[in-house]
């Protein structure tokens, strides 16, 4: 069996969607805000940069909550 790893974008998409999945119980607006807060608090800059780049490229596979959260995610310098 050969090793097949997720791409960085696939990993970030999965992680972001999971976060949004938890907060979705709080309703879309609050979920988007909490998702952004969580990512800002726990994601290193290159991860945030990667996610925002994926959003900018269309955000395929990202949940609507993540897409709504993107504007509140701190853009790394």
């Amino acid at each position: 069996m050969t090793a097949a790893f997720e791409t960085e974008t696939e990993t970030l998409t999965r992680m972001a969607n999971q976060i949004a999945g938890f907060f979705s119980a709080y309703g879309e607006a609050e979920a988007a805000a909490e998702t952004a807060t969580h990512i800002n608090a726990y994601w290193e800059s290159r991860m945030r940069r990667g996610l925002l780049a994926h959003v900018a490229a269309g955000g395929v596979g990202l949940s609507p909550i993540v897409l709504a959260a993107a504007v509140k995610i701190n853009r790394p310098a």
């Binding site: 790893f5 999965r14 938890f22 979705s24 608090a41």
Partner: protein
């Protein structure tokens, strides 16, 4: 200190608050009602002769040596079984008592070998002491009669009463010839350990101690905790190290380096050689008990595989070259600086270890933040209890278990969730079992029939054997039942919790989709059973929750922790003895390594790195500017390494190539790095990818503190100088300095002073204070100068407790046609984590290899018989191991451990992880199992890799 001999009061203390005053040998003494006369006398300093009594077990009254006279009462009652009474007058010594005691001793000695000078117990034998105490001068019965001593009778016929020594246990010897059948061992096994492995086989003179069905200690149910050896008053049960090396001469008090119970031990020494480790009665966590690991499995510290000299190499395919500390540190610093110059500051980071002291961990995270200039520091708690940190801080306000271990003595109903304490936390398991034998009721939520579900005199009232991955559905259903049936604690919620958040949560959890009937098809837990468990937890009195990695190591690990906290708040089971939410931490210093600021987003004391006031405190103390952005977590570091942006890693005492999920991803990340520095005892799996090896110190050499699962800060004291010539924190400080950030400490105590200065919960902690008090539970500061055994007593740390919405989200890791079974992984009693320590001890006698547990139905479908080799495969990897068929695992689920590198259990597990913390989902992997007769490709590669390493080792310069 000289050899520490603890006072044996003969019987356990009484718990009554009512006091009784009596007179013993003309002296007045006042003791709690229910105290034995023997103990009361000992309080006065009078040691009544005794053999079958010891204060670790209840009195038994069999040896008749502790007899006394009581004015106005007939006969000579045993002082161990006779309780004190108001105003009685007791005589402990008289001519009549002396004669009676001598008579008893004559009988004992007439059937005991007179080999005192060559006996391993010489100098530490209670039988010898009692012979002296009663003035035994002759044995009128002689030594020629019926006995258990000689293999043959005087007429050369076989002595049917004789049994040879049992040497099957790797750590102690049982010599029946020296046994006086006092039953202290049997009672210790029952009352202290709770295993009931020992018994008396036969009656009267024929009675002899037997392990199990007399199949020998190793083959019996004995778990080798050592309680029987400790209880034995003669040399009948004796540590092999004492037999081989003689009696110890001094004691060093220290702390076990295995699980999160954090047992206190007396290291009993001769010179700088450890003779034995004996659990300390005054140890706050263990109160005199131990398990096979702490008690006996410390020989790895002097194992031949131990590396004590620094080594470097250019490429990981090169042989190691032994160098000086200075060269190794200069080399590591040079490589790290070159990486940062080429790829940027963020290209390096470090991992701290829960097997290291608070001081060592603090030093590493400081090195990463201050010398590397990044926050890319993480700890192995990432892969075990990181969801505990997040979940409990959001609900209660702090990342810690709420109780001390002793609290369980007041619990009425105990819920054990996703944990197997008899394997992972055995000393606490003994305490749990004791409480259950006293009448507390037990609920177990676990896919497997763990050692808690049914054992002698312990049985779970409810075992909710859920399908792995459905924890949150179960915890929500429990809460749904409690709330919709009106069993919640309304007063507690109104007074202690955020009522707006509660109202929102109540709406959420009341929804019929959370009802047990609605989720039973997903969870496999019958609705009626779940409802009964919910009612029991809510109504039986003090409800205590204990949980382990079966809660955290899921894609919803954090959600489940919150669910447990919700349940405790809902029923008011927080803030007093006997209740609480308690994570059972896997490794000895998981709590401490988290406390010390090992996570990439927070400084010590769980304060976020983005908080300028907190950061400023550290910046002023450390004279450095800190990055305000969170750093990379372990899995993110490895992903970034595969991606090419992360090139250097300092790994302190962890073996991520064995312990972390998706091994091939981990090793791909490590192989992609330019410089990996490993600080460890052994050339572990991760060291195969290292360029610099800095030899680490064992717990016997460390000077510092560990913090256990109950937040208890215990001293770790060196019993010998570091075999490497350097403490780990010294090497770290030197590496930091070589990187350009001046860092130096004169002692570990100085590091603790810095921790206390910078961490509010540790403000009053110092080595001096710990040496005076023994231990303390944080927070320990001006508000709580004596520490905090129970958290959230008057209010939650966050103010009002917050109910969190915990919707069940199924893991994407599903059983499929190709991978129809669910693999869940864990650990076993005799091995520890990656096995680097325990595989190098006699513990391999119990667990020489990892085994796949499979249900008979699943085995039958696949034509698998007991002990056959099977292939275990998932979408990310494949391995081969032997099958064990058991009904202890549900249909559709298989289980294995990860203690042996050749098994590669984590070759199978995936990158899926907890939503909040990236804690890996070790507990749910879709797999297929089938018969095979060959090792997997990965195992063949591993074997070749290991052989190549061995060849390079042989060429080591």
């Amino acid at each position: 200190m000289t050899l520490l001999t603890e006072k044996d009061f003969g019987t356990p203390p009484a718990q009554s608050t009512k006091l009784v005053t009596l007179e013993i040998d003309g002296h007045t003494v006042t003791v709690p009602e229910g105290t034995s006369i023997m103990r009361a006398a000992m309080e006065l300093g009078t040691q009544i002769p005794k053999l079958c009594a010891t204060d670790m077990v209840k009195p038994f009254g069999s040896c008749r040596l502790c007899i006394v006279e009581i004015e106005g009462r007939k006969g000579t009652p045993a002082s161990c079984t006779t309780p004190v009474a108001e105003g009685i007058k007791v005589k402990t010594q008289s001519d009549r008592l002396l004669q009676l005691r001598r008579g008893v001793m004559e009988l004992y000695i007439s059937d005991h070998p007179l080999d005192c000078l060559t006996c391993a117990s010489n100098g530490d034998c209670e039988l010898q002491d009692m012979a002296g105490a009663v003035g035994l001068r002759e044995v009128r019965y002689g030594f020629e009669g019926k006995n258990h001593i000689a293999a043959r009778n005087t007429d050369s016929s076989v002595n049917a009463s004789y049994k040879p020594k049992d040497t099957t246990n790797p750590y102690f010897t049982f010599d029946p010839a020296k046994c006086i059948v006092c039953l202290r061992c049997v009672r210790a096994c029952e009352e202290v350990q709770g295993t009931f492995a020992l018994t008396v086989d036969g009656r009267g003179f024929d009675g002899q101690i037997a392990a199990g069905m007399d199949e020998g200690f190793l083959a019996s149910e004995c778990v080798s905790c050592g309680a029987c050896v400790q209880a034995c008053p003669t040399a009948t049960l004796m540590e092999n190290t004492v037999i081989a090396r003689g009696q110890p001469e001094h004691t060093v008090l220290t702390t076990c380096a295995y699980c999160g119970v954090g047992c206190s031990f007396k290291a009993e020494m001769r010179g700088d050689e450890v003779i034995r480790m004996v659990p300390w009665k005054d140890g706050g966590a263990n109160e005199g008990h131990s398990c096979v690991k702490g008690r006996f499995a410390w020989g790895y510290a002097s194992h031949k595989d131990r590396i004590t000299t620094p080594m470097i190499r250019e490429r990981i395919t090169d042989p190691w070259r032994e160098v000086t500390w200075d060269e190794a540190i200069a080399h590591a610093a040079s490589r790290f600086k070159a990486i940062q110059a080429k790829y940027g500051k963020g290209a390096i980071g470090g991992i701290t270890s829960s097997r290291c002291t608070n001081e060592e961990v603090f030093a590493v995270q400081k090195m990463v933040r201050a010398a590397f200039g990044v926050n890319n520091v993480d700890t192995c708690a990432r892969v075990c209890h990181s969801p505990t940190g997040y979940g409990l801080s959001k609900t209660f306000g702090t990342s810690a278990g709420t109780q001390n271990f002793k609290s369980v003595d007041k619990a009425d109903v105990i819920m054990v969730v996703g944990a197997s304490p008899t394997d992972g936390h055995p000393v606490f398991a003994s305490r749990l079992k004791k409480r259950i034998r006293q009448g507390a009721r037990l609920i177990v939520i676990d896919p497997r029939a763990t050692g808690m579900v049914r054992s002698p005199h312990v049985e779970a009232v409810h075992h909710l054997a859920l399908l792995p991955g459905t924890n949150v559905a179960v915890i929500n259903a429990l809460a749904h039942v409690i709330l919709t049936e009106g069993l919640e604690n309304k007063a507690f919620i109104a007074e202690r919790c955020d009522t707006a958040e509660f109202a929102r949560w109540a709406d959420f959890i009341s929804d019929p989709r959370h009802a047990p009937e609605a989720v039973q098809d997903i969870t496999r837990v019958p609705a009626a059973e779940l409802r009964a468990a919910a009612r029991l937890y809510a109504t039986a009195g003090n409800g205590a929750i204990y949980y382990g990695l079966g809660v955290t190591e899921h894609s919803q690990g954090t959600t489940m922790v919150m669910g447990l906290a919700n349940l405790a708040m809902l029923t008011g089971n927080i803030g007093r003895e006997g209740v609480g939410v308690n994570p059972l931490r896997g490794q000895n210093n998981v709590q401490g390594s988290c406390d010390m600021g090992s996570f990439p987003h927070e400084l010590s004391g769980y304060r976020h790195i983005s908080d300028p006031s907190v950061r400023g405190l550290f910046e002023r103390d450390w004279n450095v500017t800190l990055d305000s952005d969170p750093g990379l977590r372990i899995p993110n570091m490895l992903a970034a390494a595969v991606d090419g942006s992360f090139k250097g890693l300092f790994v302190q005492g962890e073996d991520i190539a064995q312990s972390d999920p998706n091994t091939q991803h981990v090793t791909a990340g490590l192989a992609a790095m330019d410089c990996v520095v490993v600080q460890d005892l052994f050339l572990n799996e991760t060291a195969a990818y290292a360029h610099v090896f800095l030899p680490g110190t064992s717990f016997l050499e460390k000077d510092g503190t560990f913090t256990n699962a109950e937040r208890r800060i215990n001293r770790v004291r060196p019993v010998m100088a570091p075999k490497t010539g350097k403490h780990e924190w010294q090497a770290v400080a030197e590496l930091a300095s070589a990187m350009g950030y001046a860092m130096a400490y004169s002692s570990a105590a100085e590091i603790m002073d810095e921790i206390a200065r910078l961490t509010p919960g540790f403000a009053r902690v110092s080595f001096k204070m710990l040496d005076e008090r023994g231990s303390v539970q944080w927070p320990c500061n001006d508000a709580a100068p004596d520490g905090t055994p129970i958290m959230h007593v008057k209010g939650f740390v966050r103010g009002k407790g917050r109910f969190m919405l915990t919707d069940y989200v199924a893991t994407p890791e599903r059983a499929t046609g190709r991978f129809p079974l669910i693999l869940t992984t864990g650990r076993t009693l005799t091995q520890y984590n990656v096995g680097a320590q325990t595989r190098r001890t006699g513990n391999v006698a119990w667990h020489p290899e990892d085994i796949l547990e499979i249900h008979p139905h699943d085995a039958e479908l696949r034509g698998i018989s007991e002990g056959q080799l099977v292939s275990l495969s998932s979408r990310v990897g494949q391995t081969t191991l032997r099958a064990h068929i058991t009904e202890g695992i549900p249909v559709g689920v298989v289980y294995t451990t990860f203690h042996h590198p050749v098994t590669g259990a984590n070759v199978i597990t995936t990158d899926y992880s907890d939503w909040a913390t990236n804690c890996p989902e070790y507990k749910v992997t879709a797999v297929q199992v089938g018969l095979t007769n060959a090792a997997s490709d990965w195992q063949n590669q591993w074997t070749e890799h290991r052989a190549a390493s061995t060849r390079r080792e042989a060429r080591r310069q």
